[in-house]
């Protein structure tokens, strides 16, 4: 497809930078999106994609650089200005009000007036039906948003954005909750919008979709622009190579000694949840770290949720130390020596305003108390032991956790669970939102725990972190275990260049392949 050179670009970002608290999220990046093209935005975690999207949507104000939409330069950087400029964005399940109906949500802030100037809900329902029909999908405009399934909610988000008659449409992982069937409908619709001259920015981790739908792609890495090229000039290999990059960000030096023992701590036999996972068989040995990889929506957290008693077991059997167990509640799991370190540590992991020492002791106050009184000495010893063992950087054991950096907060969460001496530890995105230095420290800690004979299940979207921590990596797709890979098999047989980087490409390829074959 050729687009006339004189036509105004849908989006032009030039020299845009943005920092958060001293961390550079975007460094002098450019982005050009033509009217009437589907432009893929690619990059790993922390590459800066979502910062770019939020700047476009007016949620963030850039520190430097200019943003033009259809030739009009943004000055206020507010959501309202972006909307007026013609930008609409499909968030990952963020813009629907659960207590309003589908039709009310679609026309929120652009309500249709009737003859008296009142809100015309009947007309909104009628127009919603038309919109859903043009997408050829089936969603009831009168249903409450809260009652929709994930796929229907996503379709509603899409229809909501489309109904704004946007000139620039941003889709951030739009297909995660959609069935293959609905993805086809979405693609057909996007192609139609394209012919109408809408500039579309498409963000997805699913390379097969990118290859099919996008015209051009821009790749970001570590907040910098790497390349922009027509998709037909790119192969899966070149994309992965550019997304992964050449440096492995301080994780390559970590050694993985084989600490696996013969004892099986956890065994899953044909385990299925209500939706996900499906028919999982898995053994975790003492001293073994097993990683779970998978794209968003692949069900990578589902095993952890089952094992920790958050989700209900639909069928199959869980064995701990060779004995069948029933885990109905997190309390059951904790009692059986299973610990889950959740992704959302700020909400679930620590009490921010309490001191480091209090947080470390939180789950085991009963063990260091007598007659209801906390034994001062045991309490202090425990705090000191974990602060030095985990290398928590804090001015004192008494400072509130709030004052610590993200990485050190995460170490306190780890310490809190280690205090209860679990035999099986599940980590869900253990390094989300923390700096590189703390990342490698946490990975080293995971290895140390394995050396002590713990069985560890680690879920992460950061492949290099899985590769440096794990002995085996399970690749999930559609709730099933699609591959079970020995970590060492991913190494470059010729041992040249950066080994971790080679392995990351191999694993990334595995992730994309299971998706294509699904």
């Amino acid at each position: 497809m050729t687009s006339p050179a004189d036509s105004v670009p849908a989006v032009r970002m030039a020299g845009v930078s943005k920092s958060f608290g001293g961390v550079r999220a975007l460094d002098n990046v450019d982005l050009d999106v033509k009217a009437g093209e589907i432009h893929a935005l690619l990059g790993g975690n922390g590459a800066g994609k979502s910062t770019v999207l939020k700047i476009l949507r007016g949620v963030y104000r850039p520190d430097a650089g200019t943003v033009e939409v259809l030739g009009h330069k943004l000055s206020e950087h507010t959501p309202d200005e972006s909307t007026r400029a013609g930008i609409a964005m499909i968030f990952q399940e963020m813009s629907l009000v659960p207590t309003l109906t589908v039709a009310q949500n679609i026309f929120l802030k652009q309500e249709i007036p009737d003859a008296f100037g009142f809100v015309d809900d009947k007309e909104a329902v009628r127009r919603s039906r038309v919109l859903f029909k043009s997408l050829d999908v089936d969603v009831d405009p009168l249903a409450l948003a809260d009652d929709l399934g994930a796929g229907q909610r996503q379709l509603t988000e899409i229809v909501k954005a489309i109904s704004r008659k946007a000139k620039v449409l941003i889709l951030d992982e739009p297909s995660t909750a959609l069935s293959a069937h609905d993805v086809e409908k979405l693609f057909a619709f996007l192609r139609k919008l394209k012919t109408e001259g809408v500039g579309i920015i498409y963000v997805s981790h699913r390379m097969d979709e990118i290859m099919r739908i996008a015209d051009r792609a821009t790749i970001f890495r570590d907040g910098k622009h790497v390349l922009t090229a027509p998709i037909k000039d790119l192969t899966l290999e070149t994309i992965i190579e550019n997304v992964v990059g050449r440096q492995s960000r301080g994780l390559s030096g970590i050694t993985r000694e084989d600490t696996r023992q013969d004892k099986v701590l956890v065994e899953l036999r044909g385990v299925s949840g209500i939706h996900k996972p499906k028919d999982v068989n898995l053994k975790i040995h003492a001293g073994e770290v097993i990683g779970i990889a998978g794209l968003l929506g692949s069900g990578r957290s589902a095993i952890a949720r089952l094992l920790f008693g958050i989700d209900r077991l639909a069928s199959g059997q869980i064995l701990l130390d060779g004995k069948p167990v029933r885990i109905k509640l997190p309390a059951d799991a904790i009692g059986l020596g299973v610990a889950l370190i959740p992704e959302d540590r700020l909400r679930q992991g620590v009490v921010l305003d309490h001191s480091v020492a209090d947080n470390l002791a939180l789950s085991i106050f009963d063990r260091i108390s007598a007659w209801g009184f906390v034994k001062k000495k045991s309490f202090d010893d425990l705090a000191q032991k974990h602060i030095s063992g985990l290398k928590v950087k804090t001015t004192s054991a008494q400072s509130p956790v709030r004052n610590l950096s993200g990485g050190n907060q995460q170490k306190v969460v780890l310490g809190k669970w280690l205090a209860s001496n679990p035999s099986v530890i599940i980590l869900d995105e253990p390094t989300a939102g923390i700096d590189i230095g703390s990342k490698s420290e946490i990975v080293m800690l995971v290895r140390e725990l394995a050396r002590q004979g713990k069985g560890i299940l680690m879920i992460s979207s950061e492949l290099n972190e899985l590769l440096s921590a794990c002995d085996r990596i399970i690749v999930m797709s559609d709730g099933r275990v699609a591959r079970d890979i020995d970590r060492n098999s991913l190494d470059d047989p010729e041992r040249k260049g950066d080994d971790l980087q080679f392995a990351e490409r191999q694993l990334q390829k595995n992730l994309q392949e299971v998706r294509t074959h699904a």
Binding site: M94, P98, L100, Q104, K109, E111, F118, Q152, L178, H181
Partner: protein, 328 residues
Amino acid sequence: MPDLPAATAPASRGVLSMSFLSNWRQNIIYLGFVAIFIFFAVTLGSKGFLDSTNLLNIIRQTAMIAVMAVAMTYVLAAGEIDLSIGAVAGLASVAAAMGMDAGGVIFGILCGLATGLLVGCVNGLLTTGIGIPSFLTTLAMMGIAKGVSMWVSGTKAVPILSDSYNWLFGGGNLGPIPVLLFWMLAAAVAGHVVLRKTTFGRWVLATGGSETAARYSGIATNTIKFRVLIVSSMAAAIAGMLYAGRFQTGRFQLGEGDELSVIAAAVLGGTSLFGGKGTVVGSIIGALMIGLINNGLILAGLEFSQQLIARGAIIILAVAISQNRKSR
């Protein structure tokens, strides 16, 4: 079982049973109202419960609560709360009475309304500007408003001598019908139409339903909250002036403790304390129900202490019912 297409599977049946459930919960207030009415009619009929004077008295006693409950519906639906309304009603009654004494009826009315506007602006600014939760802002304002009204009036009742004011604001009757009923109906109709039929009402519900989603949809949620708190204070000021007209005095105790009855009325009527849901009609019925219960308990010869206990139990019941749906 084969894979269901994720997007289309759980639709129709789930929605049907859900809407039946939520309708059932919304409608229980009406059933409850009728049930309590019949119960009192049967048990207290001989004590004059069904006399038209008694029934109209219930209206007179409930009208102020109902007017404030209409506004409270907006506040709660927007995900906020206003605890200052009772004290603001008292302050407005004093301001109106003193203003009238100094500069005539119109000036007095303006003083009452200005009180509501001023308090609403302060509540709104503190809540949306500085970001103090409205619970704390209005809790503090409750004390301030009460203190100011005690101070300016010297804790004394300020008499209102204007018969026309006293007739229009609460004391009068149109034939057999108390003027207060018209105030209540006006508040109900205006409140209902604005909440259901205007963009403002829709944006209030959206703000309380999910502030993030509302903001991402382009709604200035802080402006909505600001306005809602003003509406609430203005309604409280009007209620205070109605008290003043009914009792022909402005007094700091007027409206004291009403915030609890008002919140209870709104919650009984199906308005969620967590925002996003609310109906004005429900709040009115809720207010009438509380009036009905108070009246019945008095006729039944219960002491004030026992009335308080009964009312508290009813509030707990209402909240328990309104919460049930979220537990999944």
